[in-house]
Symmetry: C2
Subunit: 297 residues, 2 copies
């Protein structure tokens, strides 16, 4: 059947490593086939956030190196089951899906319990101390870009911040910089809104099931907020993996970003050697580098 | 109600132009409010492509300056009602939605009629002769970027090509460069896949109703193809606007990109002066520049 093979983004389940032949053109599938066990890491359940909807679960990995305060506050909110029964409040095309308390800011808002209502922002941190892999790219938004332990990041040489690529998880806030408290979260479902970098605290990224959110009907109100309660997708529960019974935990391998294999993958995306490509390009953008995830074998 | 105001992308219907005060910080809403009638253009129905689904219609504006051969072949296919009753065949998260004949390449494929089966590619054209507005940006994929009559484009100084930003409409092809014939189309619904630039012929962009496609359930097969016929969203019809009865034509104004108003809009996106922003940024990416569209008054 004729099918226009625009590109292969799906990550095949790997069976056994093969040796990458230096004479072969570097492709993503070739790089992944030649990866060995040490090229993958296995995030702890403690660092996986499960957002359960009626039709399935979205799983996020948290970026403890960048937002420890916001993640700690989120842990307290999740421990008290703050999110259970709340809702997806916003879906804006080519932008974000957002969830939390539809009554936030009103008399009937749900209590934050022991969680803090305001938090000093974590918009950036010191670049020093990160396991950083640079990507050579002309970036529209930062002098330097790359990856830190699986998360896209940018830097001005001294400060480092997570980058708003597709699937990144952030903490909504009002106008005051300290008004984000992890009670309202959003995920990027469109072209990377990098102007939000250094303006919002990012805390992780989706590694599974993001299509459950990205395909929600767009909200009918301004900025994609749902006007009617009946249009809002309910949140069944939100939990960290280590709070779940073993039969509800999902096990993932995430490709490490501090390896030769990952650097080869970046180069394979910079120069597209698959037969389909007429022009291999020779360039690559930060948010165009895929971060392969597989179900653990 | 507390709502995290991540950004205002919705374009308000404009009532009457106001004067932009040089002392006011430049914002997108301010720029649009101060625009006058001559800042907008009104695409002819001849250049609007209507993709009708069961739940509504998606409208695309065609880029005649870049892909006249592919657009002419598309006109012939649409004239013969080639697409009516075909289907959306692919929805891949963070990538593309694609439509055409699910039986393409088999014995039961629908005939292309008088349309050509192969076409010389239109991956790029001469930069000369375009009404080009440059955007000062460090672009990951090209030495120079900007807009040509409402379409995002890139250039190496001599050649110009349309850029795969969100909502751009392209012609699927097989491995051979000339195998695209406009019988299989795709639209970008994720982070700009700019590695496809100069590898596929782009022919336009969505200006209305794209959420009907971007929220389709993702396909369960490789690369987001639907495995089962029952999962494919049927195409009711595809028509150019001038083939439709007047009561089915939609009238749009599109912000011109060769004006001072548009250059102000780009600067308003480069430096975000809305109260919400802590860091105005000072940088902007090509595919982060919105291209405002409104229903004609």
């Amino acid at each position: 059947m004729f099918k226009s093979r625009l590109a292969l983004l799906a990550v095949a389940v790997l069976v056994s490593p093969v040796t990458l032949n230096a004479a072969d053109p570097l492709t993503m599938s070739g790089v992944l086939e030649s990866a060995d066990a040490s090229d993958w890491r296995h995030p702890a359940q403690h660092d996986l956030l499960y957002l359960r909807l009626q039709d399935g679960v979205v799983v996020f990995e948290l970026a403890n190196d960048f937002a420890p305060r916001h993640i700690a506050n989120l842990r307290e909110l999740v421990r008290s089951q703050y999110f259970d029964g709340l809702a997806i409040v916003r879906s804006q095309d080519n932008y974000v899906v957002q969830w939390g308390d539809p009554d936030s800011g009103t008399d009937t808002a749900r209590s934050l319990g022991d969680a803090a209502a305001t938090l000093a922002p974590e918009f950036f941190r010191d670049r020093d101390g990160l396991r950083f892999t640079a990507v050579d790219s002309d970036d529209a938004y930062a002098p330097e870009v790359g990856f830190a332990d699986g998360f896209p990041m940018a830097s001005d040489g001294e400060r480092a911040w997570l980058a708003h690529c597709y699937g990144m998880l952030g903490v909504g806030r009002a106008n005051e910089a300290d008004s984000g408290n992890s009670a309202e979260l959003y995920v990027v479902i469109g072209h990377a809104p990098r102007h939000l970098d250094r303006n919002v605290t990012l805390i992780g990224r989706a590694i599974n099931g993001l299509d459950l959110l990205s395909t929600l009907p767009r909200g009918d109100g301004a900025m994609g907020f749902y006007e009617s309660a009946g249009d809002r997708e309910p949140i069944v529960s939100m939990r960290f993996g280590d709070q779940l019974p073993a039969n509800e935990q999902l096990e993932f391998d995430v490709l490490r970003t501090d390896t030769e294999t990952f650097r080869n993958l970046v180069e394979a995306r910079r120069n597209r050697m698959e037969d389909w490509f007429v022009d291999p390009g020779g360039r690559v953008g930060l948010c165009n580098v895929p971060l392969p995830v597989r179900h653990s074998q």
